[in-house]
């Protein structure tokens, strides 16, 4: 590949007091890919994202986003990214549409109202748009949260545990959104503790463990780290998720998978 990576991290370190959170992280995220940072709680996923979003300073190492150094060109980095944090960062006292218009105004768009209406339609939120977000469900908030991140069409998107705390249906909706973004060429770095999420969405996966990347590659490459597959006959039982989705009736999304 000749195009420069969307995100390049080399030897990134960060400690809080005595506790080392990042012990030298190296990563390259190709432009236009969906990259999953997989790890358990406390592995350093959020710390990495916060450094890349210029919300936290690294102790050592370098990191560039969209070609800009996070330490020396933070304003340019912020112009290239959007962050969807661990909890839906929406304004509960405002309506859904007001939330989107607010972000559009802060990004100095010429027509924030029109952008808001387009996104409401795209995320199937038009009906609830005039209601205060405090009355919305968790899944709707998450969709609004992601919609807010898309305003201004930043080339790099950070999704920090985008489906944590969501019900299975909302989770599928978020997955569909990420796939759509990937189709448009946006680089997505998502963190997750769910293995199936990384498997479903990511072109490349890095496993972060105790502040270090212990494995990195495509799913196929990671599979090669294991002993070769053996053929066994196992009766295919529907998973509880299949059953749940079948009885609550979301067959449409099922076929999407």
């Amino acid at each position: 590949m000749t195009t420069p990576p969307a995100i390049a991290i080399a030897g990134l370190t960060k400690s809080f007091g005595d506790q080392t959170v990042l012990g030298g992280v190296d990563l390259r995220v190709p432009a236009g890919s969906v990259f999953a940072l997989l790890g358990s709680n406390g592995a350093g996923k959020t710390t990495t994202v916060r450094i890349l979003c210029t919300l936290l300073r690294a102790d050592g190492g370098t990191a560039t986003v969209n070609g800009f150094d996070v330490a020396t060109q933070p304003a340019e980095v912020r112009g290239s990214i959007s962050l969807t944090g661990q909890f839906a960062a929406v304004d509960e006292l405002l309506t859904g549409r007001e939330n989107l218009v607010l972000v559009g105004q802060l990004r100095h768009l010429p027509e924030p109202g029109r952008t808001a209406d387009d996104l409401l339609a795209r995320f199937d939120l038009t009906e609830a748009a005039g209601r205060r977000v405090a009355t919305w469900s968790g899944g709707m908030r998450r969709r609004l949260d992601i919609a807010m991140s898309l305003i201004g069409e930043p080339p790099v998107l950070f999704l920090d545990e985008p489906t944590t705390g969501l019900d299975p249906q909302s989770r599928l909706e978020v997955w569909a959104t990420v796939r759509e973004l990937a189709g448009r060429g946006t680089t997505v770095l998502l963190t997750t503790q769910y293995l199936d999420e990384a498997e479903q969405l990511a072109d490349r996966i890095a496993v972060l463990h105790q502040g270090r990347v212990i494995a990195e590659g495509s799913l196929a490459e990671l599979r090669q780290l294991l002993p070769p597959a053996t053929v066994e006959y196992v009766e295919k039982q529907p998973s509880l998720e299949d059953v749940f989705l079948a009885i609550v009736g979301s067959g449409q999304q099922e076929t999407d998978r």
Partner: protein, 254 residues
């Protein structure tokens, strides 16, 4: 970041924050209600037993009550900022290509607006209770100026717990001492009757010169040294609170 962006982004965020205030008008009422109750209680229950020399007690008491109004109002400033921080929307704004400090300035300006509304409510009640002043426009501008300076000083103070608090109790707790500070000053009774050390404290803390200045202004009396002291205290507090708040903020955003 250019100045135009600072103004533009601050305006955008100020509108958002004012919308919050409009949608929870109880915050303004709650701010005004405690000082109004104190005003009623002290004028009608204790007032007859308090000797303040010539003049109505409500005229004597009002400045202290106005300062208490501000002290309870800025608790909501800290609360609104804390809500932004804990909900993650503060980080969302900080990760966007905006003039970053506008997030704080919007909260500060909202605090001034909300407090002025509460102050007007309290003054209206005082007027209904017989408060009168023959002061002219200039004197009233002086009163408003000192109240705004005091509000700004306490608002920047409120920014500190707003940014650092880890629980809702921590956010509201810091304002209690500020609400009680006027009790040990010339706000309720003249300091001359207080015992030695208490009197020394009362006469050397900021509330006393501020209260005396406000009283002199609307009583059409010269403000004298108290006026200089009042402005000095307000500006001094404002500078210190602003600097500490900025250090706290820089630490917060890394």
């Amino acid at each position: 970041m250019t100045t135009t962006y600072v103004v533009r982004d601050t305006t955008t965020l100020l509108k958002r924050s004012l919308r919050h205030v409009l949608r929870s008008p109880d915050t303004i009422l709650t701010t005004a209600i405690t000082p109004i109750i104190m005003l009623l209680l002290f004028v009608y229950v204790f007032g007859s037993a308090i000797d303040v020399g010539n003049g109505r007690y409500v005229d004597y008491l009002l400045p202290g009550i106005l300062l208490i109004t501000i002290a309870s109002g800025i608790a909501y400033t800290a609360f609104r900022l804390f809500t932004d921080v804990s909900s993650g929307i503060f980080e969302r704004f900080q990760s966007m290509p905006i003039a970053r400090q506008s997030v704080l300035w919007a909260h500060v300006l909202t605090s001034v607006v909300a407090n002025l509304v509460s102050l007007v409510l309290v003054v209206l009640v005082a007027l209904a209770m017989g408060f009168r002043s023959g002061a002219g426009l200039l004197a009233w501008l002086g009163v408003a100026g000192i109240l705004v300076l005091f509000t700004l000083a306490l608002t920047w103070l409120a920014v500190i717990p707003g940014l650092t608090a880890t629980s809702l109790d921590g956010v509201s707790g810091f304002s209690y001492p500020l609400i009680f500070l006027p009790f040990i000053s010339s706000a309720f009774v003249p300091t001359s009757g207080m015992p030695g050390p208490l009197r020394w404290f009362a006469e050397h803390q900021p509330v006393t010169p501020i209260v005396n200045t406000l009283r002199s202004l609307y009583a059409e009396q010269p403000v004298g040294d108290d006026g200089v002291l009042a402005v000095a205290w307000c500006v001094g507090l404002l500078l210190v609170a602003y600097l500490v708040a900025m250090v706290t903020y820089q630490r917060k955003i890394g």
